[in-house]
Symmetry: C2
Subunit: 397 residues, 2 copies
């Protein structure tokens, strides 16, 4: 009887192809991290596991540049991290200023509304950073706002905003801040304590080069205080900070939900590698390979979406050259050269490509491989290119 | 400046001990699954990844015994799967009958309330199965109920309930059903279509013996219809079925959230192993090793919490013998013999141990090792035991 539901096709163990991942994430995961992922599973309350968790939290504080006691990995991807911030900080009727200059700012508005909050948007053009003056004005016009939310590094556009200034403006208006650092952590400076940011989340699969599916997060003591004093439970049980405090925050650990043990081994290894390299060295590495890529692309006559001062070194949104087919080119890069780059999202679909040089993918050999392949593929597509100019230019950086 | 936040302790790559995992989960993860976990990460929209996802969905339909089109893994642990069911099926004001006979039924009540629903509980003693007559009466008294929720296999007590009968009663009253199969899937029959269940979720780390952190889930067409016709968005963006339909349900895939790629490789391997073994063989294996364990434990004079007809073969809640120290014994098992068994949860804390024989952990050698160690440890703790009776009894099964 159970044979009725058997799969019709023959299924064998999955053997993924080796890809060079130069899109908006995931980035290539180094063997050290993959090996960590495959270590034996142990229980969540095993003393050895608890020790590992404590180390992980301390490594995360270094990466986030914070003393926040409540710093831990959410058991879900970046969008779960985002939702954890909103469900714990926004109660029905709360007014939240959301700065929106790309897809992920838009997702924040969705989150506010689903929490029963009132979202006031501060809009900037996609590809521009958030304009601090507009935030100042919005706060003046909405003195009852309780929270300001913005995206530090917009994965959909490759632009970063001045988090320090935005946090300062929010604080001066008595607001808590929610900051999306999914694409920034490990690639450009994220300085939670210096910014005075309150709820900051990231993703495992960008500049940390860990396997996808976890969201490192950190909360200020101001958040803990607000959560402890709220009169109403968070609308999510899974993401309730008050309950999670008992597992990640306490000295005697209470079981809350099943921790993704093997994923946490890998995250521990990723953060350890970041600590071994050093944050400043990691930032400089991302900057350097971006410069190589930029120089090479410019030698091919390719232009960036974002102005130089707001450009993320780890995520390069470039305008697709006139007459070049978006989909066909990306498909050829993947099928023939096993290189993944990212398509445009939302209103930028068909207009830009997003080239990620994140974490372990941010390496000179990767830049040179991509430029070399792009030269060929774009020339075939009729884009005027003098052979090797891009490579020569990049190598001179 | 960044050195201010450096960890004080020296941190090295994490090397977990090898444990024999005989608690309520995680179970031991076989090398085949760990190896799958460590394969190279690729993009979520990579054609190779999409093919793997399609295979995974088809393997999951076999495990759940269903034709449901909407069958996929939630990117979070079982409690995220639970929450996905409630946020999509329960709107504010909806009345939900929750059958509660352990910790996880209690968590369902929490979920209903956080969705703004009204929970009517049908309570049974912890360790007892859900009484169908009580559900019938509750539905008679609450003709406006829209949903019935219950736990098929209570991880906190080791008792299972008659899912088929409970689903039938709910359907006759015009209710949709939410069924927790976290601990049952792969260990005892879960027959979604035959039951006529509507929203059924499980966990990766129990009888599937995959790494923890994912929740296989399946929804009937009735759920899809209700979701499509609802007037109000789900309160969770991350768990919104309507949005997820575009990624897991559609032919042209739209990016929703970051998929936990490597975890999905491992889940594919786990479900493939279950398909290779065959469901009926897996159920028989769990039954057989339970019989060995039961016979051995009974020879030691140890008693079960749950009556035989409602006992889960994969999760054995046994009464801690009089005079034996709960914590000290479990600590000795772990530190000296590297065997993990589970403590009691909630009102059963200090009263029972939970011995899991789930998935890959359900093996004869594991049963014999545990019995042999328990004989020794309990004898040392003053429990009267004739050496080797337990082992001899178990081996005669």
């Amino acid at each position: 009887m159970t044979s009725r539901f058997l799969p019709e096709q023959e299924i064998r163990p999955f053997s993924p192809p080796e890809r060079l991942l130069l899109g908006p994430g995931p980035s290539n995961v180094p063997r050290r991290v993959l090996d960590a992922l495959a270590r034996p599973t142990i229980g969540y309350l095993d003393p050895a596991f608890v020790t590992m968790m404590d180390e992980l939290k301390s490594l995360m504080r270094y990466a986030f540049q914070t003393h926040n006691a409540l710093t831990f990995p959410v058991s879900g991807p970046g969008s779960a991290g985002m939702e954890m911030c909103f469900v714990n900080l926004v109660s029905p009727g709360d007014k939240v200023i959301v700065c929106r200059n790309g897809v992920f700012g838009g997702r924040m508005v969705e989150n506010v509304e689903r929490c029963g909050g009132i979202a006031v948007t501060v809009d900037d053009r996609w590809g521009e950073p958030v304009d601090p003056n507009k935030l100042r004005e919005a706060l003046k016009a909405n003195p009852d706002a309780r929270v300001v939310a913005f995206v530090h590094a917009e994965t959909s556009t490759g632009a970063f905003s001045d988090a320090q200034t935005l946090c300062k403006i929010a604080q001066d208006a008595g607001c808590l801040t929610i900051v999306d650092c999914v694409t920034s952590l490990g690639g450009i400076p994220v300085q939670v304590d210096e910014w005075g940011a309150d709820a900051v989340y990231s993703g495992s699969q960008k500049c940390l080069s860990c396997a996808p599916g976890l969201s490192p997060i950190t909360f200020s003591d101001r958040v803990v205080e607000r959560v402890k004093n709220r009169s109403r439970k968070a609308q999510s049980w899974f993401l309730d900070l008050d309950l999670l405090l008992g597992y990640w925050g306490a000295t005697t650990r209470t079981y809350h939900h099943t921790a993704p043990n093997n994923g946490l081994y890998a995250l521990h290894e990723s953060f350890l590698m970041l600590r071994e390299e050093g944050l400043q060295q990691a930032w400089a590495r991302h900057r350097h390979h971006h410069n190589m890529l930029r120089t090479g692309l410019e030698a091919m006559g390719i232009q960036f979406l974002v102005k130089e001062s707001a450009r993320l070194p780890q995520l390069n949104a470039i305008l697709i050259p006139e007459g070049v087919d978006d989909k066909a080119t990306r498909t050829r890069l993947l099928s023939e050269f096993s290189i993944e780059i990212g398509a445009g999202l939302g209103e930028l679909a068909g207009k830009v490509w997003r080239i990620g040089l994140m974490g372990y993918s941010s390496r000179a050999d990767n830049v040179l491989q991509l430029l070399s392949v792009l030269e060929r593929v774009l020339a075939d597509a009729g884009h005027p290119i003098t052979p090797n100019t891009a490579l020569d230019a990049a190598q001179s950086v």
